[in-house]
């Protein structure tokens, strides 16, 4: 089980390949990559993620431990960037490895739902209208609540 929090860019393909190599006996791998979104009707030029790294590592390790207890997982990895990113750049990657697809999919969703509300990252968008902090969304709380 691996957790990494860093300002360094990462390559989702290389991370996926390295993760799959660890999969002795696995029948299913799920990988999810969150990227910086910029829509034509709501463009952004940059996304800055602020982070409290010590708390982020503690929280992400706790989330992975809970997923491991709850689902039949052989491995799980969370990679999360911080700093200033451009449109299309990967922000987060969640990967799960399991004997079967159902726990692999469910655990990946569980990890994402928890990290969105419980890991100390804050997004600030910069675009034509200036810079603003992204507000927390009630639907993210609701997505986490369905696992409780």
């Amino acid at each position: 089980m691996t957790v990494r929090v860093s300002p360094a860019p990462f390559d989702p393909g290389a991370e996926t390949n390295a993760f799959l190599k660890a999969g002795n006996g696995a029948g299913a791998a799920v990988t999810f990559t969150g990227v910086v979104r910029s829509k034509s009707d709501d463009p952004i030029t940059a996304l800055t993620l602020e982070c409290y790294p010590e708390l982020a590592i503690n929280q992400l390790n706790d989330i992975v431990a809970r997923a491991t207890t709850r689902f039949d997982l052989l491995a799980a990895t969370i990679i999360h960037r911080y700093g200033t990113l451009g449109p299309g750049e990967p922000i987060v990657q969640v990967m799960t490895l399991s004997p079967h697809r159902d726990p692999a999919f469910k655990a990946a969703e569980f990890l994402m739902d928890y990290l969105k509300t419980d890991a100390p990252f804050w997004k600030q968008e910069t675009g034509p209208r200036g810079t603003h902090w992204v507000e927390a969304k009630a639907e993210d709380d609701a997505a986490k609540a369905r696992w409780e």
């Binding site: 708390l55 509300t117 419980d118 890991a119 990252f121 804050w122 902090w133 992204v134």
Partner: protein, 83 residues
């Protein structure tokens, strides 16, 4: 004790951290927020919606009822928006 501030709370206070020495009567996160608000009008305005403010003691997420006794680093911040 050191206090860390993040995101819009850091911007509104115009500082990312500060050293404070609250009296022994300040026992919990809620007490600490009250104490900081009483000595600083900008802080009082920034934390007007108390329920929005989240807290960590020595890099562990805690509720407002948590003790700060013996804490080295307390962090105060808005709801998280990662992922």
């Amino acid at each position: 004790m050191k206090i860390l501030y993040f995101a819009w709370l850091r911007e509104r206070l115009n500082r990312g951290e500060e050293e404070v020495s609250p009296p022994a009567t300040v026992a919990t996160i809620a007490d600490l927020i009250d104490w900081l608000a009483a000595r600083d009008e900008a802080f009082a305005l920034a934390v007007e919606k108390r329920a929005l403010i989240k807290a960590a003691v020595d890099a562990k997420l805690v509720p407002h009822t948590a003790s700060i006794t013996g804490a080295k680093v307390v962090a105060l911040f808005p709801p998280m928006t990662g992922g």
